[in-house]
C-alpha cells in the first residue's frame, strides 16, 4: 500500500466533510429564504412552500448521515499507520539481516522472526480492508440521500415554473439549490472514487 495514497484519502476526507458542511448549510439557508418568500406571497406559492420544507428536511437528514464520515476515517488512518509502524520495524530487521549474513546463528533468528512480522502485517492489512469497505458503505448511503435531494430539486424546478407568473424569483432559488446539491454530489463522488481506488489496490495486493 502506497502511504501517499492514504495521505490523499485523509485530505479528501477532510475536504469532503467541509464541502458537505458548507453546502448543506447553504441549502438550509436558501430553503429558509424560499419559505419566507413563499409566505409573503400567501397561498399562491403554497406548492413551492412544500418543496422548500422538503429541502430543509433532506438537508438535515444528509447532515446527520454525513456526521460519521470524518470519524469513520480515523480507524482507517490508525490501521494504516500501525502497518507503517510494523513496516518500519521490518525494515530495521532487514538491515540486521544484511549485516548478519556471515553470522549463521543471527541470520537464522532474523529469518524466523521475519515470518511472524509478515503475518502481523498481513493481519493488519486485512483489518484495514474491512474498515475501508465500511467507509465505502457509509459513502454509498450518503449518495442515496443525495439522489433523493436531487429529486426534490427537480420538483422545485417544476413548482417554480408553474409559479413563474407570481413574480417571486423561484427559478433562481431552485437553480441555486441545484448548484449546492451538485457540489455535495460531486464531492462525495470524488471521495468514493478515491476510496475505491485504495480498496482495489488493497484487494489485488498492489
Amino acid at each position: 500500500m502506497d502511504i501517499q495514497r492514504i495521505m490523499r484519502i485523509m485530505d479528501a476526507s477532510y475536504r469532503t466533510c467541509r464541502t458537505i458542511e458548507y453546502a448543506l448549510h447553504e441549502i438550509d439557508r436558501r430553503a429558509l429564504n424560499a419559505m419566507v418568500l413563499v409566505k409573503r406571497h400567501g397561498n399562491k406559492l403554497a406548492g413551492y412552500g412544500v418543496v422548500a420544507q422538503a429541502f430543509r428536511e433532506q438537508a438535515a437528514h444528509l447532515k446527520e448521515a454525513a456526521a460519521p464520515l470524518q470519524h469513520s476515517t480515523a480507524p482507517l488512518v490508525r490501521a494504516h499507520m500501525h502497518i507503517l509502524q510494523r513496516r518500519r520495524n521490518a525494515e530495521l530487521f532487514c538491515r540486521i539481516a544484511e549485516n548478519a549474513r556471515c553470522n549463521a546463528r543471527c541470520a537464522d533468528f532474523v529469518r524466523q522472526s521475519e515470518g511472524s512480522r509478515q503475518r502481523g502485517i498481513a493481519a493488519e492489512d486485512a483489518d484495514a480492508v474491512v474498515i475501508l469497505r465500511e467507509l465505502v458503505q457509509t459513502v454509498a448511503r450518503l449518495q442515496e440521500g443525495i439522489a433523493e435531494q436531487e429529486y426534490v430539486v427537480t420538483n422545485g424546478r417544476i413548482e417554480a415554473a408553474l409559479s413563474e407568473r407570481s413574480g417571486a424569483p423561484l427559478m433562481r432559488v431552485s437553480h441555486e439549490m441545484g448548484v449546492a446539491v451538485a457540489t455535495v454530489r460531486d464531492a462525495i463522488w470524488e471521495y468514493r472514487s478515491e476510496l475505491e481506488g485504495v480498496l482495489h489496490e488493497s484487494s489485488t495486493g498492489i
Binding site: M10, D11, Q70, T73, M81, Q85, R88
Partner: protein
Amino acid sequence: MKAAPVFEAGNHRWWILYDQEERRVIDSNVYIVESNGQSVLLDPGGFEIFPQVLAALAEVIQPSSVRGAFVSHQDPDIASSLPLWNTCYRHMEWHIPALWESFIRHYGALEAKFSSIPDEGGAMLVGGRKLEFIPAHYLHASANFHVYDAEAKVFFSGDVGAALLQPGHSVWVGGEGPESSKAFDEHIQHAKYFHQRWMPSNAAKKEWIDRVRQLDIAFLCPQHGAIYAGDNVHRFLNWFDGLTVGTALTH
C-alpha cells in the same frame, strides 16, 4: 486521542490533541498551530502514539497543510515518531535544538530536513505568522526550547507545567469552569513531583521565570496534563517560583 481548539481568530488557530488511548506510554499532548492554510506540530509525540495523533489531526486540520514540526528536546515521547512523520510528509522541516540534532537522528530518517535552533533561540514563520523559540535550557533537558505566539498569546511550555493526570482528563486546569484558585491548588498536586524530579536546576528555573514573566500569556500549554488559562498562568508562575526543584530524591 481527542482534539480541541485552544485559540481561534480567523485563519489563525491552535489545537491540542490530548488524552491518548495508549496508557503504557506517558500521556502526551501534541499541539498544532495553523495559520493561513499552513500547519506545524509542536512536540509531535512518540512512535507508539503516532497512529492516534495522525488520526486526530486529520479530524481538525487539512492533513496536507502540515509543513513542519518543532521539537523542544530529545526525549522519545517528543520525537521518536519522526521517521513515521517523515514517511508521510517527505518535505517536512524539523526545528530542533542544535545540540540534539545528531542524537535525534538516532530515531531514524537520516534524510529528514533539520533546521537547527541555536542556544540563544530563534523564530519560524507559519503561514506568515511568527513563532518564537524561547530558551528553556535545563528545564529539563540541557538544550530545551519553548514556543511563544505573541499574536495569540499562547505559550507552549514543553515539560514545564506538566502534570500526571488520570485518563479522561480535561483540556483545561480546573475543567471547563472558571479559573478558581481551588481548582488550581487541586491540579498542581499532580504537577509537584514531576517538577521536583525532572527539573534539575533552580538557577535555570529562576532565569526562565524572569524571561517568561515579560511575555503576555493567556494560555500556558504543557506537553503533559492540562492547559493553564488566564489567572492560572500567573498562579503557575508564582507556584513554580516558590518550588525548590531537583529535590525529589533528597531526604
